[in-house]
Subunit: 323 residues, 2 copies
């Protein structure tokens, strides 16, 4: 697919995937509403989505649409390189559609992520923890097995899948002033921007939250030019990747603003969500919440919806020691 998904395509995608995913709950919190001073704060909870993040939306969409185009892929299967939520999501998509999935993962990947892929029956091929090894390993397998590569975010079928988060949100609640999403590779954010453009009734603005330590989306947006990713060191492990080309094109044209947040602000926001909402969220999700907390004034008396992108976090090593 080579063009930006239009409104009808997003609707088609939603109907394509809706039986495979949860329609995730939209929660409110008196505490956060008062704390922000907002009219209402809504949390669209993709942390309780199947596989623990929104990534299943794009993964299942891409796999099933590619299969429609090329039935031979049902035997050859799909491949990706990822050590995060996309890997688990693609493996799960393969499991429920009965298609072989291979995931190329750095050999130092976390055990929980490896276990998740294996629990869904995905095959893991380990590589060295660098880009060259990852690409070489992936390309070798693609040539040998004729598998189809599914990129974690720089792909219109993936973007259209992720757009269904905000499609569902706006279907349930039409009076929203701001949608706030985290941004890493930009799959969720670009999908959110498309859905906001196609399905919002009012003057809805989309804002992204990004870690200061991974501010390539911020720099790209401000400089109007796709910038290189920063070293992958932020606590928000889902946001360490560089912004994708297709994602940037959509972001550049439609995004209202990006708010940068410090590591400490991400961790504090994450703690508040655990403590006050009793929800397990990963630091990437907390990045969007931290952005809203950081610029409270902007959201005063507004209806704000925050996308809680995922809940896959190492529970044995939560970053709460110094709070």
């Amino acid at each position: 697919m080579n063009i930006i998904p239009d409104k009808n395509f997003v609707l088609k995608v939603y109907h394509n995937i809706k039986n495979y995913i949860h329609r995730t709950p939209i929660l409110t919190s008196d505490y956060f509403t008062k704390f922000i001073g907002a009219k209402n704060v809504y949390f669209k909870c993709e942390n309780v989505q199947k596989t623990g993040s929104f990534k299943i939306r794009g993964a299942i969409n891409a796999v099933s649409m590619h299969l429609d185009d090329d039935p031979s892929l049902s035997k050859k299967g799909f491949i990706t390189h990822s050590s995060g939520n996309h890997a688990g999501a693609l493996a799960y998509a393969g499991k429920i559609l009965g298609i072989p999935i291979t995931v190329v993962m750095p050999k130092d990947s976390k055990k929980a992520k490896i276990d998740a892929v294996r629990s869904y029956g995905g095959e893991i091929v380990f590589c060295e923890p660098d880009l060259a090894s990852r690409e070489a390993t992936t390309n070798k397998i693609i040539q040998e097995k004729e598998m189809k590569l599914i990129h974690p975010y720089d792909d219109y079928l993936i973007i259209a899948g992720q757009s269904t988060v905000v499609y569902e949100l706006l279907y349930d609640i039409d009076d929203i002033d701001y949608v706030v999403s985290p941004v890493g590779g930009g799959g969720l954010l670009s999908g959110s921007l498309l859905a906001a453009k196609y399905f919002s009734k009012g003057n809805l603005k989309v804002i992204a939250g990004e870690p200061e330590l991974a501010k390539d989306a911020y720099l790209s947006f401000k400089n109007n030019k796709l910038m290189k990713p920063l070293p992958p060191i932020t606590v928000a492990d889902g946001l360490r990747t560089g912004l994708g080309k297709r994602n940037f094109e959509i972001i550049q044209k439609n995004l209202h603003d990006i708010i940068l947040v410090e590591e400490e602000e991400i961790i504090k926001a994450m703690f508040r969500i655990f403590e006050r909402m009793k929800l397990v969220v990963e630091p990437s999700s907390a990045t969007a919440v931290a952005a809203v907390i950081k610029e409270k004034e902007r959201f005063k008396n507004k209806n704000v919806a925050i996308i809680i992108s995922g809940g896959n976090v190492d529970l044995q090593d939560l970053p709460f020691k110094n709070i």
Copy 2:
């Protein structure tokens, strides 16, 4: 109030408190349903209740009904001794009803619990961490200030308040075979038994989960005689107290069974809830889940509702290190 609450009284209590509490969500989980082999597993989520546990139901009911009987208490206020969820709940009830609350707490209480009481405007009087000091301190204040003592569980107004958890549950889902509740002092369990008796349509059985290390309810139930509490060492800090007299009377007559669980089983169940349901729960809640996991066979193809009693847990010291 000196008699066991009847059906009409429970209904009256529900209408008395319903505007002050959340009607908490009932969640399901494909993972747990398959893992148990049940027909359906429902989680009644009091961890997202105001103050983070079901205790607010009893507290707000007791305070408001005592005030109706004796308006002078609105100035004199209420007192309790507790280092747990009842303390926070009573302080919160005082805050929203505008009544002074004093809580006698052992001076080694956890900071989070102290902070919770203070955040709701409750006054804290510290005592030595033993029963004698706690009672002496409490009695002294009662005599000086004519405050009304509200016991955490051995009180029919409290029991009636806690019964509204299962009242709500059965209002929403009438086809339930088993309700499983944790048991500590017995406030929630005895309330659940009353609601099950008054509002279930079928042959509903109530089962309790209790830590092996705090099995005074088990011993009392099996010996038909109220037994002394065990040393307060279980990880399920909400279940360390001894069973109450009024609670035991109701339990003795109505309970189907008690399942004992080991510490390790509680912690594993708690981890599974965090990991799979993305919910923050305290070990007491996990005790009920652990009981269902332990005796899976009994719940095979049944509709099982588990009460998730609370979510107030020290997030900086979660017991997940050795899982």
